[in-house]
């Protein structure tokens, strides 16, 4: 039986959902115009009045918001409420630029948790479950964000945060975790440590599913995780600017459900900014329909995906997005060709002899970009014959060439030499000095 957190909303007919979105969008533009000097200026400069927005289609008239806007108005220049109404702040680390700060009212936290409560229910997590949250707690939204959703559905949350893998395993076994939330690359590392300890996730834990996100991962990687550990691996999506982790797949693993009563999504051509049709791949743009402290109009998240239209087998009517292929800023350009680490991962995980850890190294030799893909040689495939290893090297090279349209050098490395990450895996090392 399929469980719903809010069945009436989750299965609402699409035209009713759209009517709700339209009403919320219309009041949102007035709200931001009247409460945020930033948006007032932005609208005025674009020659847009809140009254110009009369239908969902009119969203196209609105200017985009970017991460740079949040940086430029650091710390709270885009907030629509005074500090007294803010019950929590989160902040980005600022490793790739100036940090950004996000804030939440009491109601924002409730809406955020509700979004997750719907998602958790849709993957069968509820009262009686024990959810180990291995996302970082603190300024990063991953840990605390998920935490409140888990508590809302009545499951037990273990705020184990990231790192200390042996302790994670001990908690998983002693408290009987039924779900683990972390990055997929970290979960693979946890699985490695299980093996080293001579135990297995399938036989020695109660784990039934994983809630994996905070980095792009491929369908092929999902298959690997599920085969090796016997759990169901679910994708979770979100970004700190629009709250944090917000949306998950349902048990059918057929796209991430985006709650339309809270968010309006579009997919645009990253070059022209034009809206793309459902099913076409482009950059995801999100308008928050229910946020009070830091509502965002047409926020360019930077993730590349496509909208999947039509109802899901689970009965939910809200739009879905396909698996995130990568981010516009993850893309590396090698000899003029766009390469996404996700594409490389999909190729590698389709080759059974290749281990789950990999790294892309980009160099520039004699004015020419080179891509080296490092993969680990596991004992399962090591035969002692050099010719077998060379065959494997060739096989990977050929498969990459076919998909990427550029030639990459494949380097076989010893297991454990590619750095394991406790959080987001660093897949690309770009040594080019441009």
């Amino acid at each position: 039986m399929i469980e719903y957190w809010e069945p009436l909303i989750e299965r609402m007919p699409v035209d009713e959902l759209k009517a709700i979105q339209e009403e919320k969008l219309k009041s949102l533009v007035h709200y931001v115009y009247n409460h945020s000097p930033f948006y007032k200026k932005r609208f005025d400069e674009a020659g847009i009045s809140p009254n110009d927005i009369q239908s969902l289609d009119d969203v196209r008239k609105l200017p985009f918001t970017t991460k740079q806007d949040l940086r430029d108005t650091y710390p709270t220049g885009m907030f629509c409420v005074p500090q007294e109404q803010v019950v929590r702040y989160h902040a980005s680390s600022g490793t790739t630029g100036k940090p950004t700060v996000v804030g939440y009212t009491e109601n924002d936290i409730k809406e955020w948790s509700t979004s997750l409560a719907r998602g958790l229910t849709s993957i069968g997590i509820g009262r009686g479950d024990v959810v180990q949250i291995g996302y970082g707690y603190g300024l990063f939204t991953g840990g605390l964000g998920l935490h409140y959703g888990v508590e809302m559905v009545g499951a037990s949350a273990i705020p184990s945060s990231s790192g200390n893998t042996e302790r994670q395993i001990e908690l998983m076994q002693d408290l009987g975790s039924t779900a683990m939330a972390c990055t997929p690359s970290y979960f693979l590392y946890v699985n490695e440590v299980f093996k080293k300890l001579g135990i297995s996730i399938a036989n020695d834990t109660k784990l039934k599913c994983g809630i994996f996100g905070a980095e792009p991962w491929s369908e092929e990687m999902r298959r690997r995780i599920e085969e090796q550990t016997g759990i169901k691996a679910y994708d979770i999506f979100g970004t700190s600017e629009i709250s944090g982790p917000l949306f998950t797949e349902c048990i059918y693993q057929d796209g991430i459900h985006i709650w339309a009563d809270q968010f309006l999504i579009e997919v645009i051509d990253p070059e022209t900014g034009e809206q793309l049709a459902d099913g076409e791949r482009g950059e995801l743009v999100v308008t928050t329909l229910a946020k009070e402290a830091l509502p965002l109009i047409r926020y360019r998240i930077g993730d590349l995906t496509a909208i999947k239209s039509g109802p899901c087998k689970c009965g939910r009517t809200h739009p879905r997005i396909m698996r995130i292929l990568g981010r516009t800023d993850d893309m590396i350009i090698i000899r003029g060709i766009n390469v996404f680490p996700g594409q490389v991962e999909a190729v590698l995980m389709d080759i059974p002899e290749v281990g789950e850890h990999y790294q892309l190294v980009v160099d520039r030799e004699n004015e020419l970009d080179t891509l080296t893909v490092q993969v680990e040689v596991t004992e399962d495939v090591f035969s002692d014959k050099i010719s077998d290893l060379m065959v494997l090297e060739k096989k990977v090279t050929k498969a990459l060439q076919t998909v990427l349209n550029i030639s990459a050098r494949v380097e076989l490395v010893e297991p454990g030499t590619i750095p394991r990450s406790m959080g987001k895996a660093q897949r690309v090392i770009d040594n080019r000095k441009i």
Partner: protein, 145 residues
Amino acid sequence: MENKLIKQISIFAENKAGRLEKITEKLKSANINIRAFTIAEAGDFGVMRMVVDKPEQAHNVLHDAGFTVSETDVLGIEMSDSPGGLHEISTVLGSNDINVDYAYAFAMATQKALLIIRVDNINNAIEVLENSDIRLISMEEVNKI
């Protein structure tokens, strides 16, 4: 037939300074004696192959240290340590259509030399060599060398 097989340890290693040192250090601390040893290189990586006195223990020690290790059956062939010694063996193998994947050899103190070979059809090779009165060296004998 089983006692004619020699358990060789093979290790996958990146072609980097210090890798051999790490491996030999593990063997040393486990008190494992190397009887024969070779490194084959193939660009970025190489394969180290060795015959040791305690192959199972060596396998475990290296595996636990995180190395990619495999165990392979090879043959140890006694040959005469004089001109034509290797030729005698290769004639037998060649005329019986046995292809050698790789081989390494060393001289012993006894006017004899030891040749280690890996072939595809190991049982066939044993039969052919024994029919030609060529002596195969067992694991126990390797340990006594």
